[in-house]
């Protein structure tokens, strides 16, 4: 039986990918950020997940304004890194896990989530930067990936409550997959950042840390109740990406055991947050 063994939260700032691709990680600007992932890289080398369900958002790469899915699940065989305007990142192709992905997609639709199924798309920094952070620069990614793209660009994104419930439904779907697989779920994006307008550069370390506290505790109600406007006012217009963490958190169940936590400001315009959690239910 497949099982969700852990949840990972991490920001997915494009500059982090660029720093790795351009070998700048030891520079003083970048060193403390990457230091916070040392523990996680050792941990994941031991955990060896077979599959990562990678919750992220597309940043106008695979989806333009012609079509905007709220929840899109990748059921394809493989995905290429997107060309976001400066050429594709020099990272391996992402290999899918269509058996499990289709199983989850079908289960979610039966469970009354209105999924969009994707068989072909390119994946942008939202998906590849978390892989780089967790695995460094291998020849091939050591896990299969099921991309789960969430609209957080055109308003409204899904509510925090809906994201949490999607996570719960994903956990049920994984548990009903017969093959023995070690599955992790990652929630990416955030934390504080605003990439636009005179208010750009906003960082709210206090709010971010309270969010990291809540994510590490056993009270989902508080997390689910955070309205969109609060993310925007408190953490900047792009802080809304944190609703995606709730999909991961919902999938772990009510009780979690926090294994690792890291917070650093800045990476480019952004506060970086990172958590490793185990279900404790």
């Amino acid at each position: 039986m497949a099982r969700i063994t852990a949840g990972v939260a991490t920001s997915h700032v494009p500059a982090i990918g660029a720093a790795m691709d351009l070998k700048k990680t030891a520079e003083p600007y970048w060193q403390p950020l990457f230091a916070g992932y040392d523990w996680s890289r050792q941990w994941i080398a031991q955990e060896k997940p077979d599959v990562v369900i990678l919750v992220y958002n597309d940043h106008a790469s695979a989806f333009d304004m012609k079509i905007i899915p709220t929840f899109a699940i990748g059921c394809g065989e493989r995905y290429k890194p997107a060309d976001e305007g400066w050429g594709p990142r020099p990272v391996p192709d992402v290999i899918g896990e269509p058996d499990l992905a289709w199983h989850i997609a079908q289960s979610l639709i039966l469970d009354e989530f209105d999924m969009t199924i994707i068989n072909e798309m390119d994946v942008d920094h939202g998906l590849t930067v978390p892989l780089s952070l967790m695995y460094g620069q291998p020849e091939a990614w050591p896990c299969k990936v099921i991309p789960l793209a969430v609209n957080v660009v055109t308003y409204p994104p899904p509510s925090g409550n809906r994201c949490w419930r999607l996570g719960e439904a994903i956990a049920r779907a994984v548990e009903s997959f017969p093959q023995d697989l070690n599955v992790q779920i990652w929630g990416t994006g955030g934390m504080s950042h605003q990439l636009q307008g005179p208010r750009a550069g906003l960082i709210n370390a206090e709010w971010d840390n309270r969010f990291l506290d809540l994510m590490s505790q056993n009270d989902g109600e508080a997390l689910r109740a955070i309205p969109h406007i609060e993310y925007l006012r408190e953490t900047g217009s792009e802080g809304i990406e944190m609703v995606m963490w709730l999909i991961m958190r919902g999938a772990l169940g009510q009780a979690v055991k926090p294994l690792h936590r890291h917070y650093h400001v800045p990476a480019s315009n952004t506060a970086v947050g990172h958590l490793v959690l185990e279900p404790a239910g």
Binding site: P14, A15, A18, Y29, H59, A60, S61, D64, M65, K66, A82, D83, E84, G85, W86, G87, V153, T154, Y155, P156, S192, Q194, L195, Q196, G197, P198, R199, A200, G201, L202, I203, N204, A205, W207, H228, I229, L232, R233, E234, T235, S237, E238, V265, P266, S268, N269, A271
Partner: protein, 140 residues
Amino acid sequence: MITEDPRHQDIHEYLAEFEDIPGTRVYTAARARQGYHMNQFAMSLMKSENRVRWLADERAYIDEWPMTEDQKQAILDRDYNRCLELGGNIYFLAKVFSTDGLSFLQAVGTMTGMNPEDYQAMMIAGGRSPEGVRSIKEKR
């Protein structure tokens, strides 16, 4: 089977709140519709052959798109605040500044009125405080 009746949030109230955040343009339907072709233009720069054509003759390339003259000028001027006002979205506009070789840090800084060094220094010192820029009405 029951008909759920959760407390439904009114969409008008939901959208109105976004206009109360200082220095911020939330990418609502109204903005998405206004900026549709500007954003689709920017998206076209994901293809390297389009980037080559754009860089060779910006005016000729942008004139192929059904954008308003204001929108075209804002793009040609790299006036990103003006682009946002005219319905641009930063992730689409990113294709324009990435084609220019600018990072998010450099491009985003241009919207704050700060010079690049000061913006970078502010970020390294912990970023802009949320104090006083949460709400126009509530002045907090």
